[in-house]
Symmetry: C2
Subunit: 475 residues, 2 copies
């Protein structure tokens, strides 16, 4: 059995696999910050070299308008064996990472990966670094699975047809990806299904396949008042304070049931089916325990009225203020009335909400709530559609079998509240479904200080990918 | 006439007077930022040297707990002539300045004073620098008046008894001043009235004496939720977002009439008298024109319902958010739910509101509005009482005569919306009244980028102080 041999190899060579991941994690590929452009490219070159080493035809492709202004895409192909009859898989991942602030909350520097015991959660180790799980660590589970097949059979995909697309702008709205997909449409349409490892398991040792993710509309609004900062003694009570007015406007974005108040916001939302709600309830997700894990009391279980925490995360749209700033934010006191105040406001969307439509509706809503004497400045950062894969997809079943083989039990079929805009893009432009076979845990501190990836999860991921290859080639 | 001679000297030597001010303005004495501690001390030493040069007994006194931890106070005395029968004046000023941010909005570096034409406002020049009017420029009007008397009569105060107190923490809540006043109480109680030049005129060429200033209570609140930043996809809609919740709470601080909603907030407010409102109405203050001057339309004339803009500034308390921050505030997008969010919230108070009582009431109000699952962290930055001088004070009349002599017309009797905590302190600890004889203009950009002082105003101030000395000594 080739799959068994590949799994044996993974077990015997795990230390080296992890060391390769550490090398990659050392590269600070923060895609949203132009200051890290060179490092981001370095992370692309690093993984390109890995793919070449595995015998794949890999290239680094310049993207953006003008070409080269974006972070490049690594595109690789594994020629299938002559007798291969299975589907052509498009593996998608990203080599860029989130910014690291607030950096003073990191227990170790974000780009100096640390391997340490997995705390109170029993035996095993974890690796702590920015990108440990999102998404370098998860991409490496696939790369090391290919390495196992390569070492044991001579062919990194065991003869299966794979196209590998690794982008460097996932954390920056995948801004160049639509142009790339359009340009390489013919080539990408040879693929039958997309496979992504950028989501989580249901819990420690509880495998899961994600069949839906939420969409995203991310905006920035600035409210302007006076053309200069003002003395709060001379002007306090005499003119609009943009911070005050911004808080007043934004506080109206939710009603008492914590539903978003933008007109028509829920018009395109596909309601949760009874069947779906029932299936999710069986997963026995403990919302209170999850809150405890982030230091919050049971009273913090707040969200849209009428839905469970799981339903709110997986199946309902939300609005969040991701950042706010204005006026004096230094030490001590400054008696100033600011000239303007800003907020980053984003919306998580579900099928069939359209990010562009939601952003437009939000800006219109802001305009309708313009405080006396003030004016708005709007920025549309980016958006992506949510996506839900048909439950009867044969590729979902293949992934299910692979996970069962890697872990000895059937995975749960779940959704995720996060957003992977590429899935929406591939569906709309290439009619490709996406299977999310992810290995993260809910306490991995994704996007936060001290992001980590359990080595247990890394191991499961590598075995699952090795088994998935085995499913494809029937070995 | 000695006053006439002093005025002649001021006219003939204005260039040198302004050059001395420029020297002082070059010293970045930002008291709130510990990084500028040495420069702040340098500004004290500079003015101390000036006073010594004028023949006064001056000393630099260490303050703070422990001694020397604060910015020093410059204390100087002018021994009166043997036959002097007038009051002993306490001149108060401050040599520290506000922070300069946002620094990129300055047209010239804040500590490289520029002398330039007074724009469209007719002939004359202005000096642009941090501290130009608040308060170094105004203190220099007094110092140069003394220099004129010294040069023309040999005695800097013409024989009048003056004690001069210049502090370096006015922009930082005068934190060491109460301790200093307590320690030097016996000496300071020899004074009969305090004279402060840190306020404004009613308008260009319209002299004014300020008989009341507002008090201040300055606070900082932080709302905490999770013990870590969270991924807004995984947690959005499942737990409290402290930025969202903070905006909801703060937006409730005002009702629809823009009155502060904290219980008992208005309990100690002395209502405006009919007489006072009538007198102010006669000043024909043009609120709309003032708004236009800061780039705002007439619709921006907002504030507590039932009061004119002037009444709101001079006679009514307000609440303002001076700063707000939380979550991701960098470029682009970060899909995060912050662990906490903060705001600087201050209150301008009128007689007889007690800053400590107001701060306590605000924190209590916050607690009563604690969002589910969140907790507060409170900081009391500082406060000061408002003060109103009795309208029949003889010293007010003397200042009135001096200003009339300097400008050829009677000053208006006005109030200011700003806060000069020292006035409240001197009243409560020493029973000293304070006369505010100020020479600023409302468009001086106090506390803002491009702060300026008109040389016309500098001239009026120096002449007024010279004439005030003349009033005291009957010359």
């Amino acid at each position: 059995m080739s799959t068994a041999a590949a799994m044996e190899w993974l077990k015997a060579n795990e230390g080296a696999s992890v060391n390769r991941l550490v090398d990659w994690l050392r590269i600070p590929s923060i895609s949203t910050d132009p200051a890290y452009a060179a490092e981001t490219r370095k992370a692309a070159e690093w993984v390109h070299a890995q793919l070449v080493e595995l015998g794949l035809e890999s290239q680094i492709i310049e993207v953006g308008k003008p070409k080269g202004s974006g972070h490049p895409i690594v595109l690789a192909h594994s020629r299938p064996a002559a007798d291969y009859k299975g589907p052509h898989i498009l593996f998608y991942g990203h080599y860029d990472v989130q910014p690291v602030d607030p950096v003073d909350l990191w227990e170790s520097p974000p780009f100096e990966p640390v391997r340490k015991p997995a705390e109170k959660d029993g035996p095993g180790e974890r690796i702590v670094a920015r990108g440990a799980v999102d998404d370098k660590g998860q991409v490496m589970t696939f790369i090391e699975a290919m390495r196992a097949w390569k070492e044991t059979t001579g062919h990194a995909t065991g003869g299966a047809a794979y196209t590998i697309l690794l982008e460097g702008e996932e954390e920056n709205g995948s801004v160049s990806l639509p142009g790339f997909v359009a340009e390489y449409q013919k080539l990408l349409q040879e693929c039958n299904v997309c496979l992504i490892s950028d989501t989580g398991m249901l819990g420690r040792g509880q495998p899961a396949i994600t069949y839906g993710v939420r969409g995203l509309a991310y905006t920035e609004v600035t409210l302007h008042a006076a053309n200069q900062d003002l003395h709060s003694g001379l002007w306090g009570g005499r003119c609009p304070n943009p911070i005050t007015e911004l808080t007043k406007v934004l506080s109206k974005l939710w009603d008492k049931k914590r539903r978003v108040t933008i007109p028509k916001f829920y018009d395109d939302v596909v309601p949760l089916s009874k069947k779906e709600r029932k299936a999710w309830a069986k997963l026995k997700f403990n919302a209170k325990a999850a809150l405890k894990g982030i230091g919050l009391p049971p009273a913090a279980d707040v969200g849209e009225a009428g839905y469970t925490a799981m339903e709110r995360e997986w199946g309902r749209p939300t609005a969040e203020i991701n950042g706010i700033w204005g006026g004096y934010t230094g030490k001590g006191a400054k008696t100033v009335i600011a000239s303007h105040a800003s907020a980053k406001v984003s919306f998580r969307l579900v099928a069939d909400q359209d990010p562009a439509k939601i952003t437009k509706a939000f800006f219109k809503w802001c305009k309708e709530h313009t405080p006396d004497g003030c004016r708005w400045e709007f920025t549309d950062h980016h958006g992506g559609f949510g996506v839900t894969v048909p439950f009867d997809s044969p590729y979902l079943r293949a992934a299910e079998k692979a996970l069962k083989r890697a872990m000895g039990k059937s995975p749960a079929m779940i959704k995720s509240g996060g957003s992977i805009p590429v899935a929406g893009l591939l569906k709309s432009q290439l009619s490709l479904d996406t299977i999310f076979m992810g290995f993260g845990l809910s306490d991995d501190r994704v996007h936060s200080p001290n992001e980590k990836f359990e080595l247990d999860c890394f191991r499961i991921g590598a075995n699952a990918h090795a088994a998935f290859i085995g499913e494809l080639v029937g070995k």
